[in-house]
């Protein structure tokens, strides 16, 4: 059973992602609502995969992804981005994130991204 950390400041988005992931799979899910919480929770929970929102208060997803990758270069992070955030996304890809999905996404898109990252 994989452990997945969902990071998003919007409860709606966390719920959508959690529901999609748990529909056909038995993952353990942990959640963080900003980048600062995400970095701390990553160290504590050591999840297999992280889904990371970009726009968040306190600490955004770009900084959090970089900090997590610095702490664990093998971390698997999937950025959850909106259109119009291409510059920030490029920064994340250069920093070594595994994949990204663009809102609005389908259930199939996020589940296959998680499976790919788990298997790589």
């Amino acid at each position: 059973m994989g452990k997945i950390m969902i990071v998003d400041d919007a409860r709606l988005m966390r719920n959508i992602i959690r529901t999609a992931l748990l529909e056909n799979n038995d993952y353990k899910i942990v959640e963080a609502v900003n980048g600062k919480e995400a970095v701390a929770l990553y160290k504590q929970e050591q999840p297999d995969i992280v889904t990371m929102d970009i726009t968040m208060e306190v600490k955004n997803g770009v900084e959090a992804a970089k900090e997590i990758l610095e702490y664990d270069p093998n971390a698997k992070i999937i950025m959850v981005t909106s259109l119009g955030q291409e510059k920030l996304l490029k920064e994340c890809v250069e920093a070594g994130v595994s994949d990204y999905i663009v809102k609005p996404f389908t259930k199939e898109r996020i589940t296959s991204s998680i499976l790919n990252s788990l298997n790589n």
């Binding site: 919007a10 709606l12 988005m13 719920n15 726009t55 909106s82 809102k103």
Partner: protein, 169 residues
């Protein structure tokens, strides 16, 4: 500023993007209803998301307004696990996220048409028939009819001096 100052091309592009993104997010069509000049209040609408537009050649704002139950239905559609109990914070948070997705897609649609704009993250306001006054702005209201209820898209946009990047030469 008079009605003829409203940038028809901009508005058409904006509404087209709202329609196509809405149908992607909610898997349902929206149809355009009435178009009118905004009369300084949001009629019987109870909740509104206000976004600012800052572009190379445009400034203005777009306000999405609707009944609270319309916002609730949209959010419940995306998140059926949402508690049956009405929670205003969940509605604010959810509407804000939906508008961010709309705005992101709209910025990209404009960029594909060589118009660079930024759209600010929404501020959410609510209350019964609240009033807003915007001097020097003519605002156009377009009703968008959806299965969740009517969503008014209120647009005030001004074109200013600077020419568009790719058309200046």
């Amino acid at each position: 500023m008079a009605i003829q100052d409203l940038d028809a091309n901009f508005i058409e592009l904006f509404l087209g993007s709202v329609e196509s993104t809405f149908s992607k997010v909610f898997n349902t069509e929206v149809t355009r209803g009435q178009m009118s000049i905004w009369k300084n209040n949001l009629s019987d609408h109870e909740i509104a998301a206000i976004t600012g537009i800052i572009g190379e050649a445009h400034t203005g704002m777009v306000i999405y307004s609707m009944k609270e139950c319309t916002a609730e239905r949209m959010i419940r559609f995306l998140d059926p696990s949402m508690s049956k109990e009405f929670d205003r914070r969940v509605i604010y948070d959810g509407l804000s996220e939906i508008i961010c997705i709309l705005s992101g897609n709209t910025m990209t649609a404009f960029s594909e048409n060589d118009i660079e704009i930024d759209i600010t993250t929404p501020s959410i306001v609510s209350g019964d028939s609240f009033q807003m006054h915007m001097p020097n702005h003519t605002m156009l209201t377009v009703d968008m009819l959806s299965e969740f209820g009517t969503i008014d898209v209120n647009i005030a946009i001004k074109r200013h001096g600077k020419k568009q990047k790719n058309k200046a030469a």
